[in-house]
Symmetry: C2
Subunit: 453 residues, 2 copies
Amino acid sequence: MPDSNITTLKTMLGHLDDAKKYQSLRDVLGTLQAADLAAVFEDLAPEKMPVLFRLCPKDLAAEVFAELEPATQQTLIEGLTDKELKLVIDELFVDDATDLVEEMPANVVKRILSQADPEMRKMINELLQYPEDSVGGVMTTELMELGPKMTVRQAIAAIRRLGVDKETINTCYVTGPDRRLLGVLTLRELILEKNEERYLEEFMDPDVISVHTSDDREHASQLFEKYGFTAIPVVDNEDRLVGIVTIDDAITIMQEEATEDIAKMNAIAPLDKPYFRRSLWEVYRSRVPWLLFLMISATFSSFVIRRYETALAAVTVLTAYIPMLTDTGGNAGSQSTATIIRGLSVGDIHPRDLPRILWRELRAGFLCGLTLAAANFAKLTLLDRVGIPVALVVCLTLMATVLVSQMLASAMPIVARKVGFDPAVMASPLVTTIVDTTTLLIYFNIATAVLRL
Amino acid sequence: MPDSNITTLKTMLGHLDDAKKYQSLRDVLGTLQAADLAAVFEDLAPEKMPVLFRLCPKDLAAEVFAELEPATQQTLIEGLTDKELKLVIDELFVDDATDLVEEMPANVVKRILSQADPEMRKMINELLQYPEDSVGGVMTTELMELGPKMTVRQAIAAIRRLGVDKETINTCYVTGPDRRLLGVLTLRELILEKNEERYLEEFMDPDVISVHTSDDREHASQLFEKYGFTAIPVVDNEDRLVGIVTIDDAITIMQEEATEDIAKMNAIAPLDKPYFRRSLWEVYRSRVPWLLFLMISATFSSFVIRRYETALAAVTVLTAYIPMLTDTGGNAGSQSTATIIRGLSVGDIHPRDLPRILWRELRAGFLCGLTLAAANFAKLTLLDRVGIPVALVVCLTLMATVLVSQMLASAMPIVARKVGFDPAVMASPLVTTIVDTTTLLIYFNIATAVLRL
């Protein structure tokens, strides 16, 4: 729903609430999507929240709750009685409940855990042990498990009985003793199977692709994209089925990873909050360390220029082309780094491809450099009317700098990955700083040689 | 499956093929995932392709075919008889068949359409009329439609009868006369419903969020993320249900859009192919136009420097800080542009937020600029030992340039969106070029004033 409609919705709900038309409010709430209603709650006065929340149908209330920002969840919890809190927690899926426990302060956590039933408490505690960026940290344990000797009829009956508490029933898992994963079956296959007495083991898919609790969550999200899954089973060290990751989690991971890459590639510490929810202080802290670091790194380029100050004083026109040369080097470098970083992150490129990459970038850089140098030579001699020797110096530098930048900049993210850093950090701003110094060194060396300074 | 396993797989399949062990080959193929088998096909000799393809089970063959690169699809089609081709096309989902028709040369298209049955041909022709980046261009028409007066029992029977040809049955749509969309029901709800004689209209969700055939496909993918859908219904101008977009398409769109954004943000024409599948020529063409354009734009900075050549000759030390100043301005600008572009693209930010954004960026830029200027003043006077007036000029410029860059750079993508351009094009390289000239103008004006040049 567009934001303007959200505003209309807020006004309408406000009027109904003021007029105490609770039955109408209840009716309206029932027609809304959880995400839209959550947007309304975010801006509600704290004392209004529990009132509106109590009017939501039970399952919608839990969905809305799971969509709220942690600060809003806390405010709402503080307005609920223990009994109401228990109802919400019982309706939450265990991965959402775990996220909640991770975000809340200690006293609220205590209240939540005391209201959760023992089974839920046990599952939350299990999930809490996994690191946040691991598969274990995003999986849920509420999956639909079936036996290999069940018939289609029995399986559907089991799903009818137990399915309501499962995060998804669209994919079901066939397990043997010790919860060992034997096969996978979709609800679609079960429903479309003509013979209701057929055993699951006869037509389940025994070649299951699974992930491990300790795998990187980005790895799991790549498998969703590659194989078109809607859920992936998660196994532990003893190869037992312990959970599933569902596609909605995979989408969140993908979007978060892309946002994180884009932030890092532009020298910003990633913030996992929407723009307007970040405080000014958070924005400042996410930007200033990189700006400072890069500013100090730029000192190298000042050193180079100061070393060649006398040469520059002799041929002052050389100064005029410094920004063009360093910018072009930086731009050429950004192109390569961005390509490689994205390739690594979607899985098209692997660190062992480095030699092939360098060979491609060498040729691409040569072609790009040649084109730019030719265009620039024409401009320098015809438009700027500088002498041939100066034009030669500028164009040779341009050629060399594009070539060197594209090779250097494509290698940097891969080297970063190899030594265990995040490749995205090696992106345009850092590349620019390194390329600048390199470009200036090339420029002054060529100038000294050609112009005999 | 990691690439090393794909290589092992290739070797194994090659051995079995050479030894003409076709039954074993058939058994092995049946255990594989379509995406992995497609990776094997990509590198197969053309004459081997039809042999291996014929050994695949029918439904796997169609899945593998849909995953192949267009060039490989064409090679394979040329090796198949008309009858075999017909079998493949009958098994394809209509959106994959449409993609195929869009990619193949005219003579192959003719052969494909002559083999497709009339119903399929009609659906392909309908889908072909929509632009590639519209919802119509990615939707499929094979959806599960139910009537409002059906009971749960009847609905499940209908799904059993017709579901096999549908792209998904996990979400079903309830339609009235003229295919008007009345409500949505998940297979989960149907299966979990205890009362098998209940009418669908009694418990379907009548508040359906749908998209229009002409909507931007990125809009549809944003809805998936926001509401956690696995399918979205598509309606036409008369509000009739004409198709669905499924979550696997949404994921492809999200990843393509993120890759496209990252490419554009780094001055590369987006290529929708993995890194190693791009020819050198394609890489060159995607990079050189932007490099040329930006190089020529950098001419402005040369103009500015040449205008102030005498001033620079008088105080040569000023030259040494040009790269540091322009780089810092560029970095500060990139931070803001990247933040805004990503915000626009995931839907956190709307063009009408411009005043709020400028106010935030003004304050963030002020704080960042102040910090950098203070740090730099200490460095200039203590380490570089330049005079206080020069240090003052550099630091005032730094302060002003960070402030101006962050405001300018945050406004640019929004203005671009407002006038109908893609915001991502306004990213760091273009910002850098504009910021450079601005920075130099600020620098020389402050220098002239403070140093009385």
